[in-house]
Symmetry: C2
Subunit: 243 residues, 2 copies
Amino acid sequence: MNSPLRSKKIDQTGTGYLPGLAIDCVIFGFHEQQLKILLLEYQNTNLLALPAGFIQEEENINDAARRVLAERTGLTDIYLDQFYVFGDQSRHDPAPMRAIMEAKGMAVDDNHWLLRRFVSVSYYALVDFTRAVPNPDVLSDSCDWYDLASLPTLMLDHQHIVQKALETLRTDLDRKLIGFNLLAETFTMGELQRLYETILGQELHRSGFQRKMLSLGILERLEKQYNGGAHKAPYAYRFVSDK
Amino acid sequence: MNSPLRSKKIDQTGTGYLPGLAIDCVIFGFHEQQLKILLLEYQNTNLLALPAGFIQEEENINDAARRVLAERTGLTDIYLDQFYVFGDQSRHDPAPMRAIMEAKGMAVDDNHWLLRRFVSVSYYALVDFTRAVPNPDVLSDSCDWYDLASLPTLMLDHQHIVQKALETLRTDLDRKLIGFNLLAETFTMGELQRLYETILGQELHRSGFQRKMLSLGILERLEKQYNGGAHKAPYAYRFVSDK
DNA sequence: ACAAAAGTGTTTTAGGTACACCCATGC
DNA sequence: GCATGGGTGTACCTAAAACACTTTTGT
């Protein structure tokens, strides 16, 4: 992998990448009843941004997105969906990237390729929180999970991108049955319901939810899980694709 | 407007446009119970392609799509939706564009910007067939409607783009209530139903369809239309947005 | 009179909501 | 025993599907 944001040296010209095009990824995770996304914090600037990357000249853009995801989470088998292209010129603002590069001690030319206008092809990804290992890129000193419910201010229009990603996730949740990607291999019906409630931002009726999920024919019931709770042990379930 | 595909002279360098990025438009119309799309035929090559364009350096990409649409149809108030970015390197094939340019009598350099790899941001549009005035660009000698049901072979991966546009239209039809954009200002319930049936590729029950449409509260009933048919005169309806 | 398309009514079915009941477990 | 969370059963309501009936027009 030779992303300019990963290699030790930052390319001065952007050679080898499609110019003016970037990948931004909204990586969702779910932990302790909270929906979270992965953010990078840049060194000495307090700037927070979505994991991003560029597209190699001989690379498919969807593969570039998978590469970014693999670099930031260590995971390769991830649910990933392109959801929008942000291409307004108003989103172009070289100031934050300049601040990041200067904080890195770089001499920054006004014409540096990273300061030019970029069109962002945005993806959202759903990962198993317990399996992801966040990993910062060369320009950032941290890569961590942040609660979606109390998100700090983000760089550029990244807040807007997150908002649109969440809207897409909400409408896709029923249509594409993708929620399971946010859970571990096996899970209880209660965990699944709390996930749905968190994503949709509303409470769901327990019995109806259970019946609907089971009627979809995509859940395999396993043995009961004795977690030591003061109640009946729930069944564990596994998602089974029907292909 | 100074698109290189519209101006009399074709720019040799692509100056003024975002490099490597193109807009492709699947423009749907509906006429005589057929779903149609607008295609360009290039001079002396038998090559058919989707209406396309590039993005000016100071232009929003959605505005670029509107500009392409206005140039090809003469319409400015059009339903338009971004639906996918096609960015596989395998879609890069300079041969057809070279043939088009050579057929135009141009001397074509191997490094000509139009022969390089492009990432396509694709849009679908819904237009009122009776109001659109197809208008070819400078490289093509015709811009006309083609039946979606019996589409000829298209350039590059444009067949694939059309397929994905149609799939998106089908799923959006119920969710976004956009079908009316394909009809004239007023229409009968029968016309609307035949439109839905054509798009979805399946027959719908007449009474259920009528009730469902009326229950949405987005149709205003006007006077009856006496078309001279050997049957009861249908009501005319108009779409009313509820904002 | 009849066919054709339009508008409306009726019955049946399916899915969802709401609520109730019982089960298993730890305190 | 009791609170807690889990699984299932039942009544109810709404929306869709399927079908029937009536209306209006031209031939």
